[in-house]
Symmetry: C2
DNA sequence: CGTAGATATTTCAAACTTAAAATATTTGTG
DNA sequence: CACAAATATTTTAAGTTTGAAATATCTACG
């Protein structure tokens, strides 16, 4: 903490300039995140008749071609278990994923892309990357790197503490 | 576009390194945004028995002490009209805001903080700023400024085009 | 072996969210 | 003035999301 920060934090409850800068940073993250997400949601709906949560599940499964457990999926997407149940139900109804039993554990199931799911996602992912690149067309390569570095710092600091 | 980018974009559908860097940047924004939002949601629930959407509405109204129309609120928060209706209904039930008729326009109504809403929000806002500062405690002043600058660039490029 | 506790998932109720339809009111134009 | 178009908001249906409770199954320990 430097001198002016120390000075501005003298009395118990006042908030420092640094604290205010961090709050502004958070609000700006939120703003960009909402705006981009809104744009992508609309494109996803108009172009593919689908939704972002479903896209996210397909993306996770595309990275793990052998499939994932429900719990792995929800952990990877940072959403609750119950949430993933509903999304996967809809993707199953659309024929894009299947649930398969797990050998030696009848509590669990593994979710996998179907052939159709793989094909659909590969196509959507390309188009999606184009949308993102357009929405971020003012983001230079250097700024992208800076952004990623700064955000990774924040992520790492808030990593869920693992159990021992 | 530099030489290697031009080279890597030769055939129709391949995606450039820049496009991939932008996608990574977007995924990182999303990751941080979800993580922080999850933390804040939980704290808001445990500490105040409330939610982030309600906090956001209170915050907007705290900045506009004379109140805002429903449509101004939804625009300011970048959410749909119907969404705000429900949140405001709950805040009215909690006694934190009121709906008032608008002189000369019986379609509209103005939403304002009550005394209790003002008092509650002022208290919550201080604590909230502290939470954010803790969650971003690895974010230096310089990085906060860089982050804000880069994100503002992105925001501005995606500003909703105003009607004439 | 029996069973208490742990684990994986689903179900549930409540809240949030959107897009579109419905309602109510105002404004502008002939 | 009449009334079509515009505006402000609410309602509705469908989907997403959470946190907690319920189910089903597995594991470990006596």
């Amino acid at each position: 903490m430097n001198k002016s920060e120390a000075l501005s934090e003298r009395a118990g409850n006042e908030t420092s300039d640094l604290s205010k800068a961090r709050l502004r940073a958070w609000l700006q993250i939120l703003k960009v995140s909402r705006k981009i997400e809104g744009e992508l949601r609309e494109k996803m709906r108009l172009e593919f008749g689908s939704t972002l949560p479903r896209f996210d599940v397909l993306a996770a499964l595309y990275r793990e071609r052998d499939g994932m457990r429900m719990s792995e999926l929800s952990k990877s997407l940072m959403v609750s278990n119950g949430n993933v149940t509903g999304i996967v139900d809809r993707l199953v109804a659309e024929g894009l994923v299947v649930r398969m039993p797990v050998e030696n554990d009848r509590r669990a199931s593994i979710v996998r892309l179907t052939k159709a799911g793989e094909k659909d996602f590969a196509e959507r992912a390309l188009v999606h990357e184009g949308w993102v690149s357009d929405l971020f067309s003012d983001l230079s390569s250097a700024d992208a790197d800076a952004l990623i570095r700064i955000l990774r710092n924040i992520s790492h600091h808030n990593e869920a503490p693992h159990h021992d």
